[in-house]
Symmetry: C2
Subunit: 220 residues, 2 copies
DNA sequence: AATGTGTCTAATGTCGACAATCGACGAGCG
DNA sequence: CGCTCGTCGATTGTCGACATTAGACACATT
């Protein structure tokens, strides 16, 4: 791959950045004409991008009305994280035998690095390593269908996660939480692997809900 | 709701029917201009429909090249059914406590009807009741995110299932397979529920692959 | 004053035409 | 004779304009 050039893809990136940068807030309406004007292109690629963002779960589309940033209820957040846990839990469990000794070493190292970065306050670093860790975990699965859904959800949830990762866990918790996954894989206990991964995500979902509730109280 | 009138939705239905009716075969290319001409509309709604069909997994989109009916490899079929089993398994398991005595009675009756229809050779009836049965099962779950993915997969797999349901199971097998799910719910054994549902789908996926292999041998 | 109706506006849905790109075919070269 | 490269046709990507619809506002009516 050299570059992606189609306008549609650029629009997707643009909007995704707008969301991450908080220039767009949940509930906001995305007007095609306005976006087209801002980006100096026609509405066609904007609409294409909308359709794709819709499948990624990043925007809500209401026929004849418009596109909106979804307002996720606490329940929807929990549900999304739960679903991701179900998918990735199965992915890791079913691939657990394929992890080589070297893979496990690599995973342990990632957890080490994550812990170090967390203690050093390198938040950006923590998020990046966390992403690598989870990518590495699911990469051993060969179920493309499952991975596709998993990565879609991952993108959707990343927006939420990105805004709260600073307040979710303490450094030692971060390390411990991820270490538990590696440990369960080492133990080759399939039932436990699946459970640990599920809990991992449900816990994060719950924390995010809690943090959001806290923020909304202080803000309002 | 009175009717859905937007062209896009009509296009989606149209193409879906074309697929079910075998007027479109795996690997076929879907040319926008041609479809637009056939349906007497412009390419815009066709493209909109394509995007949606893509998210449903019913067509493959290759940038700058075109849209194709996916050629599912045996592995992809198994993977898709496995994934559906994972999703619905969790859905049913997590909702198992919400099934009332009446719900279970209704499920038992559906299985009875299914068995009767199967013995009577009412294939269409069997498929319909089977659909009702599975809808009823997952409807007790309240995880919208999970249900969304589940129903998308369901639509995608229905195309496959629809073409083979006549040769997959014997009447007594059909009844027994579905009865096992109801029985596991009655037993309130969460682990077993999830396992039974997963097996249910993996088995069907495997059968379809087997039947396809058989057909391709006889045809070629 | 509250409710229902009609109009008006702004946004989405659709259109036909043009531009950019991919795959195939064939000419030229080693 | 086989391979590379350029041209060509067909299809998708993009455009600007028009048609249609949802929602807001004002007015009339009870």
């Amino acid at each position: 791959m050299i570059v992606k050039k189609t306008y549609k893809d650029q629009v997707i990136d643009h909007i995704y950045q707008l969301i991450l940068a908080d220039h767009l807030k949940p509930g906001d309406r995305l007007k095609e004409s306005l976006l087209a004007l801002e980006m100096g292109i026609s509405r066609a690629p904007i609409r294409e991008a909308m359709k794709e963002l819709m499948t990624l779960g990043l925007i809500d589309y209401k026929p004849q009305i418009g596109n909106f940033l979804p307002i996720l209820t606490p329940k929807q957040i929990i549900d999304s994280y739960t679903t991701r846990g179900v998918l990735e839990g199965y992915a890791v469990m079913s691939a657990s035998e394929h992890f080589t000794r070297q893979d496990l070493k690599c995973l342990d190292r990632l957890v080490d690095d994550m812990g170090q970065a967390a203690k050093g306050g390198e938040h950006k670093q923590v998020v990046d390593i966390g992403g690598d860790f989870h990518d590495f975990l699911v990469a051993r699965s060969d179920n493309q269908q499952l991975l596709e859904y998993s990565s879609r959800l991952s993108l959707k949830l990343h927006v939420l996660f990105y805004k709260h990762w600073g307040m979710l866990y303490r450094p030692d918790e971060i390390e411990q939480r991820h270490r538990a996954i590696v440990t369960s894989i080492k133990a080759q206990d399939k039932v436990r692997i699946e459970q640990v991964v599920r809990d991992h995500y449900v816990e994060t979902g719950s924390k995010i809900v809690a943090v959001q509730a806290l923020n909304s109280v202080t803000v309002v």
